[in-house]
Amino acid sequence: MRELALDIRDLRVGITNGDGTKEILKGIDLQVPKGEIHVIMGPNGSGKSTLANSLMGHPKYTVTGGAVGFFGEDLIAMKVHERARRGLFLAYQYPVEIPGVTLAHFLWNAHQVKVQAEQPEGKKDPKAVLAFRKRLNASLESLHMATDFSTRHLNVGASGGEKKRIEIAQMEVLGPRFVLMDEIDSGLDIDSTRVVARAINAMKGPDFTALIITHYPRILEYLQPDRVHVMAAGKVLCSRGMELARELEQKGYDWILKEYNAS
């Protein structure tokens, strides 16, 4: 069997508030081998975004049970920035705005941290900042974005579609080995979806693994994922091939929820 990039075993996650902890993920089992593209679909409220955010380590969520292996390491034990430095990247459904901080400034710092993490003994390359600028501009251009986005404040005043593409630009520049995408295609028009899919396809390869949350099979036709998982009520119901996504689009979720007694 191929090396597992992500190995989720009986993961239980809740939100803690004044009334105690409310469990949202009720024992997730999901494996993604290295180099594969997997997809999660499922009705609203099934826990998809909770899964993505808790894998990244959002403080809002408390892991109450189970284990997550990330290329053989214990992901849950890592702090958020350590997960990022190990090569995990989350493309957000709703990227936050950071006033006063330009995309280029922020991303250069993140990029430097990553270089440092990968080569702690490496020498500083004085031309690195130029190469970085070039790469960021090339990425923005390929996403059909004006290059002056790099000097605008991060996500401030950007449209929904622009924010999503800024996420992709960050992904391209940082070059993570595992990408979580939380509804990256929501709110994108047909052309933008194609542009984003092209960017993801360009990263495909033996060292690139992705777990993509989506409601729309359209982007999947471009991406041709290896596996489609269906989540409902905090659990993974089933995992099949691309044909499942097409079937879901035609028939909705009811039949599969009934099939697995999850409705």
């Binding site: 990244m56 920035h81 990247f89």
Partner: protein
């Protein structure tokens, strides 16, 4: 100071014809008496009129009550301070006597050795001699006067007397009186009609004089149509063995002239920093204060602008950063006295730990000042549950035909913002610092590049240990 350094300084004096008077090392006894004032005046060899102003100011100082608003001054003990130390005395303090934490900060900021000593008040910045010389030559050609305040009084007595104390008289407040009685050091600047200076005047060009004295007194006069930018201070911590700093700054912006005064002060944490900064802008003149306040135990500082002539403009941009044990009570006063005057105020404050920031502002529109436009915006960022931020805006509008906008926000850094930056690999501390830097970006972008970079590095240092 070592012998080489002394030699360099002496050489400097003869070569460039410095006019530093030779006065023996002198330190006044603790506490303030009439005799102290007489001694200060005598040591400076001043004209009688200045001595008399000092004495009058001393009487005012004694009579004026302590301010009962603003910060807590109850632990101030006027008897405990030394009111006059000759600069030469100060420079012989040893680098080794500078507290460990401040020396460390210099290391972290990457400030060169010579500059550190200068900044810490234990030596002059010899490296800048040549720069200083060529700049002074250039300024002299244009008729610009740029001197320390004592030299200004000595070399341009009539000009000096015409302006000194007219904008901030001793009767203004207790600390203005104290400053007038004890003043020492500061800058005296005159830019003639129509002269526009394209590089900023910086206090450190005036080497061999006290820059940030305890009671510095600065006078800036921009004659009609003149344009200048003055920069004072630096982001490195200002170390002082003296725990009271009371400056007075008077700026006169004549018809059609423009003055920008930029300062960042970062005082040691034991300092009371009580400063009176005031400017008057005449017809079509523009005055801008760019004011950064960090450090100190208590800062009370309210840069003011009198818009006295039709069409005058005033802009004030300020940041205040208070960490545990600190109170930054800062704000702005703008008085619209003439028609069609305009002003903008942008105040940004950050508090962390048990730090406290207050915005205390006054916007006044006098009767007859029609067509006034003014906007006030105060943003506060609180980094901890224990920090405190207050806004005390006062508006006195005695005229109907005015357009005034006021906006105040108080915010915290959101978990989602921190999470977002951390999910790209930044540590929690770096993420927090980056958000704080973003918050003060409207201020930082108005600074000269090297100051903006220093400011950002300083914010980063200040944020250390801010998160678990």
């Amino acid at each position: 100071m070592n012998d080489d350094a002394r030699a360099a300084l002496d050489l400097d004096q003869s070569k460039y014809d410095f006019t530093t008077p030779e006065v023996s090392v002198y330190r006044s006894a603790k506490g303030l008496t009439r005799q102290t004032i007489l001694d200060i005046s005598a040591h400076k060899g001043e004209p009688e009129w200045m001595r008399d102003i000092r004495l009058r100011a001393y009487e005012v100082f004694l009579q004026k009550p302590m301010p009962r608003w603003g910060g807590d001054l109850s632990e101030m003990d006027f008897e405990a301070y030394t009111y006059y130390i000759k600069p030469t005395d100060k420079r012989e303090d040893a680098w080794e006597d500078v507290p460990e934490d401040i020396r460390k900060t210099f290391d972290r900021l990457g400030v060169p050795e010579a500059e550190r000593k200068f900044l810490a008040g234990v030596g002059a910045q010899f490296e800048s001699e040549m720069v200083y010389h060529s700049i002074q030559e250039d300024l002299a050609k244009k008729g610009v006067i740029f001197l320390d305040t004592e030299s200004g009084l000595r070399e341009h007595p009539e000009l000096f007397r015409k302006y000194f104390g007219t904008l901030v008289p001793p009767e203004d407040n207790k600390f203005a009186a104290l400053n007038t009685a004890c003043w020492s050091g500061g800058s005296f600047i005159y830019v003639p009609k129509g002269v526009k200076l394209d590089i900023p005047l910086q206090a450190y060009f005036r080497i061999n004089s006290e820059n940030m004295g305890q009671f510095e007194r600065t006078i800036i006069i921009a004659d009609e149509g003149a344009d200048l930018h003055y920069i004072e201070g630096c982001t490195a911590p200002q170390y002082s063995t003296r725990s009271l700093h009371t400056g007075v700054i008077e700026i006169f912006v004549h018809k059609g002239a423009k003055v920008r005064y930029t300062t960042i002060q970062n005082w040691a944490h034991n300092i009371y920093n009580l400063v009176t900064q005031r400017a008057i802008a005449y017809e079509d003149a523009t005055m801008e204060w760019v004011d950064g306040n960090m450090g100190s135990r208590l800062t009370m500082k309210y840069p003011s602008i009198y818009l006295a002539g039709e069409g005058a403009r005033g802009n004030v941009l300020s940041i205040a950063f208070a960490t545990s044990g600190q109170h930054q009570d800062a704000g702005t006063k703008i008085i619209h006295k003439a028609p069609n005057t305009s002003s903008t105020i942008l105040s940004k404050s950050i508090s962390r730990g048990t730090g406290r920031t207050s915005y205390r502002g006054l916007l006044k529109v006098a009767k007859g000042a029609t067509g006034v436009k003014a906007s006030v915006k105060c943003d506060a960022l609180m980094l901890s549950e224990t920090s405190r931020s207050d806004t005390y805006p006062t508006m006195e509008i005695d005229e109907d035909q005015v357009a005034i906008a006021h906006e105040a926000t108080v915010g915290k850094i959101s978990d989602d913002q921190i999470f977002y930056l951390m999910s790209r690999g930044l540590s929690e501390q770096d993420a927090t610092a980056m958000i704080v830097q973003g918050f003060i970006e409207p201020f930082a972008k108005q600074m000269p590049m090297e100051y903006a970079i220093e400011l950002n590095r300083l914010i980063q240092l200040e944020m250390e240990g801010s998160v678990g």
